[in-house]
């Protein structure tokens, strides 16, 4: 990808040093006037439960959008079914609230036919990983230019509280009175296994971090999967408390920064190293002796191996050692770009399609009256 155009709005010089300049955003027309958060609020009354984490995510997205400076009419939010999927109704952009699990497929058709649009998918853990699992992995492997926001609350909210594909084993819910039996998906691991070129994780309550991740996702060419830990205060309250409670979070959260050593905890006293015997990652107390071995985060590595190992650090039950931030942001050919290129190549090689010639073919006969 050419490193020439800087397409996002001003004030990001520092960012540009971190994030390679991309080109696909430049295909989306810019807004004529300066925008504010208000411009992105639709006239619809927001109907999530009071206290739901979705409110914070909506505010962060509406607050971030003006920074992109894109023409509002060229932004589309597509969602599936679930609490989070009501999201498009609240954005004053184009939007489609579709059917359960299918948003990535619908968005693929839109994005691959309209490269002048900035297409966002809003989905949840049930929508994206259960009923729509197939579409999610295929969108990721194709690397369609979509930004997928996966609100993970580890529960089915809209159907009133059944366990989801990210619920911890043994979860007691209405449908699992004796505890759930199936092992959960780790969405970041799954996305990396599906060849995702951009994978990040963030938390609903950390507006600054969430916005920073959105910024990097928006700038990425190809599919960006952003897992957002979201609190469902009605059916799974406190699911991510370990990451939010100030005291616990210091030990639980590992903030990934590209190019920085991976350390965390009080005074950054803990760090991540590679076990030379297994190649796996583990957490150690940082000492002068091992400081040089602390892993430096490389989100742009062509290989997803270390990103995958990072995604496995978290304990699925206690959430201790949960990395947040951008796990992977690698360059890979983008499906819709290549699709457009093939159309151009075909036209260069065969000329613009001539319908009369097509219908006639090479094998005709004539009947004269």
């Amino acid at each position: 990808m050419a490193d020439t155009t800087t397409t996002h709005s001003s004030g990001q010089t520092r960012r540009e040093a971190q994030t390679p300049a991309r080109t696909l955003l430049s295909l989306v027309p810019k807004a004529e006037a300066k925008q504010s958060m208000k411009d992105f609020k639709s006239d619809q009354e927001v109907r999530w439960c009071p206290g739901c984490g979705d409110y914070a995510i909506l505010a962060a997205v509406q607050g971030f959008m003006p920074e992109l400076g894109l023409a509002r009419e060229n932004i589309v939010f597509v969602s599936g079914i679930g609490c989070s999927s009501r999201f498009p109704y609240y954005m004053n952009t184009y939007g489609m609230h579709s059917i359960h699990g299918r948003a990535p497929a619908i968005a693929t058709g839109l994005a691959s036919s309209r490269r002048d649009l900035s297409v966002w998918v809003v989905t949840g853990d049930g929508d994206a990983l259960s009923i729509g699992g197939n579409h999610l992995i295929h969108a990721l492997r194709r690397n369609v230019n979509l930004k997928i926001l996966l609100f993970n609350n580890r529960i089915y909210g809209l159907t009133k509280g059944q366990y989801s594909p990210t619920s911890e084993v043994g979860k007691v819910t209405k449908s699992t009175p004796m505890g759930s039996l199936d092992a959960p998906f780790n969405p970041v691991s799954l996305a990396l296994g599906a060849e995702a070129s951009f994978v990040a994780r963030t938390v609903d309550s950390d507006r600054k971090h969430l916005t920073d991740v959105l910024r990097q996702a928006a700038a990425h060419d190809g599919t960006a999967l952003v897992e957002i830990y979201q609190n469902c205060n009605i059916f799974n309250d406190g699911a991510f408390e370990a990451l939010k409670d100030k005291q616990q979070a210091e030990e639980a959260v590992i903030r990934l920064e590209h190019g920085q050593p991976i350390t965390f905890g009080v005074d950054q006293a803990k760090g991540v190293v590679r076990d030379p015997a297994t190649g796996d990652l583990r957490v150690v107390d940082v000492t002068d002796a091992n400081r040089a071995q602390i892993l430096v985060h490389d989100a742009r590595s062509a290989s997803p191996t270390t990103a995958f190992a990072l995604s496995r650090l978290a304990d699925p039950d206690t959430l201790h050692h949960t990395p947040i931030g951008v796990f992977r942001s690698a360059e890979r050919p983008v499906y819709d770009t290549q699709m457009a290129d093939q159309l151009d190549t075909a036209t260069e090689q065969n000329g613009k399609g001539d319908l009369g010639a097509l219908l006639t073919g090479n094998d005709t006969w004539t009947v004269v009256g």
């Binding site: 579709s98 058709g109 159309l343 319908l355 006639t360 009947v367």
Partner: protein, 645 residues
């Protein structure tokens, strides 16, 4: 025509027509003129029978006969060799006048092995010619299909005109100058057979030779071997005594209106119809599809036409295929998904969403035998009620059905017209018989094609009480009841749509009972109000008491049956439906005109059920679900019985 065999035996003077190679009528060989012939090529799946049939068809088309074809092959790519289930056949009917079906019974059967003979002999009337490849009639091969003794010797083929030809040996012999193993050389035996049949029926040969040259352009040796085998077959006919007679079937000049023609299969015509619709609508074509027999050829074909701005997306499954198409429709493409019955089942929920979103979308269903996986390579019309009703809720979808292979072109344009005008998903119900069958097609002039350009929304369409100008995504055109199509990228028209019930006009989410009732009825009224032409009834004398009503691919056999009855002095009226939803406005009145109505269908009576329910008429259903089209003779008999009461 009521009898093929007698016409086949008719003698005529020996004027010879054809392409560059002509049987030497003066070599002492007799030339007879026929008005029509039905040939069936049958062999193992690996014998290249479909290719042989295709080539003979092309030769016949370029000669100017009318024709109709019926390929018939197993679902397995390479079914076990030499077995009955592994037999693949191709039937071709060609004539000096217009014909309607691939024919009931072959005048000539080419049987490449014992299995092919056994699987097809029941369809062949006594007196017909049978060309057998004697090389394959080994004891083992015959035992494999249950022949205790050789049918070539035990008298069981008495009454047929059998030509025993060692096709493999002759082909290998002809190719001895090529350094090929016996096995490899033997592979060209289908071209030898094609050459022989081309001689027998005075077919032009240059098309096949240039076809072989370009097909094997990268392997000139193989091209040369096949051409040699092809010529050897032709020369064999010319010289051997066993083939004393050759036949000519004059071009069907009278049958065709003036114009330029080509031969075309249903799936190709349908693909071209989609490309044409995209051009006429001035919208890019977007196909979202998942491979499925017998629809995949449309995906293959459209993927070749990227220089027409056609995007083809091979999705991860049927649901994603239609999902992507619907996404592209939202973005302003002419969106299409192609599939067969099992795929329609998977797409149902998304079709319902398209009904609710009111976006244009073509759902092409190439019907095949069902239920479940059913008979993937055989034809059936049993998805009519699935297309009509196969969704949750009240979700009306217009249905258009082509009647012949070439008609798939016009039907695709008509389906696009309805989708674009009324902002609705539309079913295009073709089937396996139309998809793979072929016939001559008068190539339309591009400027004869309909203008399909839609009006996109560009600005506000509603004034609020306070005078504010706003855009309401569900404010309808009062004439068509279509809602505006406002594509992303249009400033000021940002709006959200979804599958939840919407408030009339604003499109906002609404759970209001009265509004839901209104919206359900409005969506139904929109589809019911689609402008479709009145049904034309073919009732020459106006005195018929019996109406035959059909839809889709039964057109050929029904029309042929009606002709037979009329030739026998009977009065029969015929009408054929292109629009299944909504039905033509005059259908009720037409049905009431006739005391007797017969509805032949390749299902268990789905159209009959619809019209009995809607019009309270005592329509009689006649059905067949054996994976094959009706035979004209059989339909004629049924109609005769109905006439006789």
């Amino acid at each position: 025509m009521t009898s093929q065999v007698s016409s086949h035996a008719e003698q005529a003077d020996s004027a010879v027509v054809g392409g560059q190679r002509k049987p030497s009528g003066d070599g002492g060989k007799e030339v007879r003129r026929l008005d029509r012939v039905i040939i069936r090529f049958a062999g193992d799946s690996g014998d290249g029978m479909q290719l042989t049939g295709d080539r003979f068809t092309s030769e016949t088309a370029s000669f100017g006969n009318d024709l109709s074809t019926l390929p018939n092959f197993p679902a397995e790519i390479r079914a076990p060799a030499g077995t009955l289930p592994g037999v693949s056949s191709f039937q071709l009917h060609f004539a000096d006048h217009d014909i309607l079906t691939p024919g009931d019974a072959p005048n000539v059967l080419v049987a490449m092995n014992p299995a092919a003979l056994k699987a097809n002999i029941a369809d062949v009337p006594r007196g017909a010619e049978i060309i057998v490849n004697t090389d394959e009639f080994t004891k083992r091969a015959m035992q494999k299909v249950g022949y205790a003794s050789s049918p070539l010797e035990d008298g069981s083929l008495d009454g047929f005109h059998v030509h025993p030809v060692p096709l493999t040996t002759l082909t290998v012999e002809a190719l001895k100058e090529f350094e090929l193993s016996r096995k490899d050389a033997g592979r060209s035996k289908n071209m030898f057979a094609l050459g022989l049949l081309s001689w027998m029926y005075h077919r032009p040969t240059e098309g096949t030779e240039s076809f072989l040259k370009s097909k094997f352009a990268k392997k000139p040796d193989i091209a040369a071997a096949n051409i040699t085998a092809f010529r050897a077959g032709w020369n064999f006919g010319e010289t051997t005594e066993d083939f004393a007679v050759s036949y000519e079937v004059a071009p069907a000049a009278q049958a065709f209106p003036t114009g330029t023609y080509r031969n075309i299969s249903g799936n190709l015509a349908l693909s071209y119809g989609l490309v044409a619709a995209s051009r006429q609508a001035d919208l890019p074509l977007y196909l979202g599809s998942y491979p499925i027999t017998p629809a995949s050829d449309i995906l293959h074909e459209l993927s070749k036409h990227k220089n027409f701005g056609v995007r083809t997306f091979q999705a991860e499954d049927e649901i994603a295929g239609i999902g992507a198409a619907l996404g592209a429709a939202f973005g302003g493409s002419l969106a299409v998904t192609t599939t067969s019955g099992p795929g329609v089942a998977l797409k149902s929920e998304t079709i319902g969403l398209a009904v609710s979103l009111e976006l244009p979308l073509l759902v092409v269903d190439i019907q095949r035998g069902g239920p479940s996986t059913g008979l993937p390579t055989k034809t059936e019309q049993a998805d009519l009620l699935q297309a009509m009703y196969g969704r949750n809720g009240e979700a009306p979808v217009p249905i258009v059905a082509p009647r012949t292979p070439a008609d798939c072109f016009d039907a695709a344009l008509e389906a696009a017209r309805i989708a674009l005008t009324y902002r609705t998903p539309v079913f295009l119900l073709s089937d396996g018989y139309l998809a793979n069958g072929s016939e001559p097609w008068r190539i339309p002039e591009v400027d004869e094609l309909p203008d399909l350009r839609p009006q996109f929304a560009h600005g506000p369409n509603h004034t609020l009480d306070d005078g504010t100008e706003v855009f309401w995504p569900y404010k309808r055109d009062p004439r068509t009841l279509a809602r505006p199509w406002a594509v992303p990228g249009t400033p000021g028209l940002e709006h959200r749509i979804g599958g939840i019930e919407k408030q009339d006009g604003t499109g906002n989410i609404s759970y209001d009972p009265a509004n839901h009732d209104l919206m359900v009825r409005t969506r139904q009224a929109k589809v019911d109000g689609i402008d479709v032409p009145d049904l034309e009834v073919d009732d020459e004398s106006g005195a018929a008491e019996l109406l035959v009503l059909g839809w889709g691919s039964t057109y050929g056999p029904i029309t042929a049956a009606v002709r037979r009855l009329r030739n026998a002095g009977q009065q029969v009226a015929q009408a054929h439906l292109r629009h299944l939803n909504p039905l033509p406005g005059n259908l009720g009145e037409v049905l009431k005109r006739y005391p007797h109505v017969v509805v032949p269908e390749m299902n268990l009576g789905q159209l009959a059920t619809l019209i009995r329910a809607k019009y309270l008429v005592d329509a009689r259903s006649y059905t067949q679900v054996n994976g094959m089209p009706f035979k004209a003779e059989q339909l004629a008999t049924v109609l005769k019985e109905a006439l006789d009461g």
